[in-house]
């Protein structure tokens, strides 16, 4: 037990939490944007896979990690657009569209990988590039904090900036207001002249781009290759993180960090004599528990609100009855 604590309280652990949180955080922000527009993007998992492969392929082709990132984000946006087309134009149920896209991504990336790299498991034969790590001057020299906060992949910093950017976008711009209006009440939004479908198209595309960042990080930062189904449910975890974060950017960030913590913990515990299966289970179990705890307190809050709201008229009703 002491060993666990000494591992967790080491500054390296803090570093690894931020490292594993990054893809979850991007995906969670992706879930947030689409959810705000009232459309559910369960294809985040598949989109991340598509982007991860795209990033590897384009960075290997051009020799530039920047081009790889750009291609990955664009691919994510296109996949989001495709999902929007299926759900909004073809009117396929959005969950089924998402399942379909996930299936296509999981098989299609292996298919494409085999055609491009001649291997069905891993892209190691491609000379793909990795996005640079940033050492932040000033912070890097602070003892504990420096180890934790400095020297991360550039996308880790981008992820945190994206939280702020998403907040500003959703709450401080006219477009963000429209997105929220559409999600809150599409009929009311349409009645004041907002193009509901157009907004939802946009939201799903942005959501896909966000997942695209996450995918790019997976294959060009977290590790330096693409491997089959490498996202391992992070897109689904992100959906839980978004719900638990109360559908706000700040909440999403905190819950992503929480799940990142368990992810990092499971990586750390693998060094110890605990059955690896249990350790691997940790992030998923933590997600379920987190989701349940969140919904428990939410239903309790709603019940309290209902009771206090329901109590008032009941009393006046009773007194009114007496007066008659």
């Amino acid at each position: 037990m002491n060993q666990v604590f000494s591992l967790i309280f080491a500054p390296e652990f803090g570093y690894s939490v931020l490292r594993v949180t990054t893809p979850i955080m991007f995906a969670t922000l992706g879930a947030l944007i689409s959810d705000k527009a009232g459309v559910m993007n369960i294809a985040l998992e598949g989109i991340m896979l598509i982007s991860a492969l795209t990033g590897v392929v384009f960075s290997a082709l051009t020799g530039s990690s920047g081009v790889g990132l750009l291609a990955a984000v664009l691919a994510g946006g296109l996949a989001g657009l495709f999902l929007a087309y299926c759900a909004l134009k073809l009117k396929t149920d959005i969950i089924l569209s998402g399942i379909a896209l996930n299936l296509m991504a999981s098989g299609g990336t292996v298919f494409a990988l085999f055609l491009i790299a001649g291997d069905k498991g891993i892209s190691s034969s491609l000379a793909s590039k990795v996005l640079p790590k940033l050492t932040i001057p000033g912070i890097s020299s602070i003892p504990v904090l420096g180890t934790m906060l400095s020297g991360h992949n550039v996308l880790t910093y981008v992820a945190f900036l994206m939280v702020a950017a998403t907040f500003v976008f959703l709450y401080r711009t006219p477009l963000g207001l429209r997105i929220r209006a559409v999600g809150e009440n599409p009929n009311a939004a349409a009645s004041v002249g907002i193009g509901v479908t157009k907004i939802q198209y946009l939201a799903l595309t942005l959501s896909g781009m966000m997942a695209g960042f996450g995918g790019a990080y997976m294959s060009m930062g977290y590790v330096s290759w693409f491997s089959k189904n490498m996202t391992a449910g992070r897109g689904f975890i992100a959906m839980a993180a978004e719900a638990m974060g109360g559908a706000t950017p700040l909440g999403s960030m905190l819950t992503s960090l929480l799940f990142g913590f368990f992810d990092a913990l499971s990586n750390t515990l693998q060094l110890m004599k605990i059955p690896s299966e249990f350790v691997n289970m940790l992030p998923y179990a933590a997600t379920v528990i987190g989701l349940v705890l969140y919904t428990v307190q939410k239903t309790r809050k709603e019940r309290l609100a209902r009771e206090s709201a329901g109590a008032a008229p009941a009393v006046t009703g009773a007194t009114a009855g007496k007066k008659e």
């Binding site: 073809l90 379909a100 299609g108 055609l115 719900a243 289970m281 919904t295 239903t299």
Partner: protein
């Protein structure tokens, strides 16, 4: 549904499959050096030998189980994707009974399958209970539980059932009494197929002829209406998913005892996801599930044969599957023709229309 509408649905489904196959054709044309040969293997390979056709039927069995499991849950409007984990954990439970119990021949597999079904139903019941009690999305929690089932199952195999002499991460051999007898010689088609056929009929009768099935359908069609008409929708939500999990667990048990002599899966087998396609193709109707399962199994085996004898990897089936899901579930796909059909019907029989 009138006869015309039924014909229309058949046409719509066929057209969706045709479009998906056309996409497959284009992919093969682009990818392969010898597209003619690859396509021949893909489309006709399953028919070229008794063994290959046997493979199709073998694969059809688990797909029928997960297809019906998903159909029941989707009919109730529950997006529980736990059939994948239920299938896996059910198989683990069956393996436990098959390895550790000593029972007479016929009883042994029955006990194993029943135990697998029980574990599967508990597994899919958890997300249902979480949803009813606290409103946690069954979609997200069932997805998480799939991973939990996978790692927990591997843990059980690794620590309690692992055969250290086997070299790989596999369980002990099942007791011979537990293994399902083969039905067709020279294939691995077991008596499990009889259970699958029985399940199809029972599931159809359950959905069409019982009060329980009717409540499931009504809740799925309109939960609010069902609640106001006095149906306890919470219990429907739970029992539909418990039944779905039971069927998935049963499928996993039968697959394992019918096809293998020890537990050797290193990955989730993916039949739960395939069940989604089967259910959509079959329009959630248990009677159509075997047809859809046969179709998907045929595609799968065809692609496997093709990838073995040509330069096209079999994963491209996933692209076909995705396309089929999207097109068939697309309510605006050919919607104009449906409107025309309904309109024609309405205007043609203005007198009898009121009586119906």
């Amino acid at each position: 549904m009138t006869r015309q509408q039924r014909v229309f649905e058949v046409v719509r489904t066929s057209l969706a499959i045709l479009i998906a196959l056309t996409i497959a054709l284009v992919i093969v044309l682009v990818v392969s050096d010898d597209p003619g040969d690859a396509l021949g293997k893909f489309l006709l390979g399953p028919l070229d030998s008794f063994r290959h056709f046997g493979n199709v039927i073998e694969l059809m069995i688990p797909l029928t189980f997960t297809g019906i499991a998903i159909s029941v849950m989707f009919t109730a409007g529950q997006f529980n994707l736990g059939a994948e984990g239920g299938f896996f954990i059910g198989a683990i439970a069956a393996a436990f009974v098959a390895i550790n119990f000593s029972l007479p021949p016929v009883i042994h597999p029955i006990v194993a399958i029943l135990f697998g079904s029980l574990v599967g139903s508990l597994f899919c019941g958890i997300p249902a209970i979480l949803k009813v009690k606290w409103g946690s999305s069954e979609l997200v929690s069932s997805l998480m539980f799939n991973y939990i089932a996978f790692f927990f199952g591997l843990f059980l195999i690794n620590y309690y059932m692992r055969d250290a002499n086997a070299g790989a991460m596999v369980s002990y051999l099942f007791k011979p009494t537990a293994i399902l007898p083969k039905l067709v010689p020279r294939t691995r088609i077991s008596v499990g197929i009889l259970v699958a056929i029985a399940l199809v009929v029972v599931a159809w009768l359950f959905m069409q002829r019982t009060r329980w099935g009717y409540r499931i359908k009504l809740t799925g069609a309109n939960a609010k209406f069902s609640r106001y008409s006095g149906i306890d929708t919470n219990s429907v939500v739970i029992y539909s998913q418990v039944i779905g999990g039971m069927i998935a667990g049963m499928g996993g048990s039968i697959e394992l005892l019918g096809m293998y002599t020890r537990f050797s899966w290193q990955n989730l087998p993916g039949y739960g996801w395939d069940g989604v396609i089967v259910a959509i193709l079959a329009r959630n109707n248990p009677l159509f599930v075997p047809i859809a399962a046969f179709f998907l199994a045929y595609l799968r085996i065809g692609a496997d044969i093709m990838s073995r004898y040509s330069d096209v990897p079999n994963e491209f089936v996933a692209l076909i599957q995705g396309t089929i899901i999207i097109l068939i579930a697309a309510s605006s796909f050919l919607a104009k023709y449906r409107h025309k059909l309904v309109f024609k019907e309405a205007t043609r029989k203005p007198v009898t229309g009121g009586e119906a």
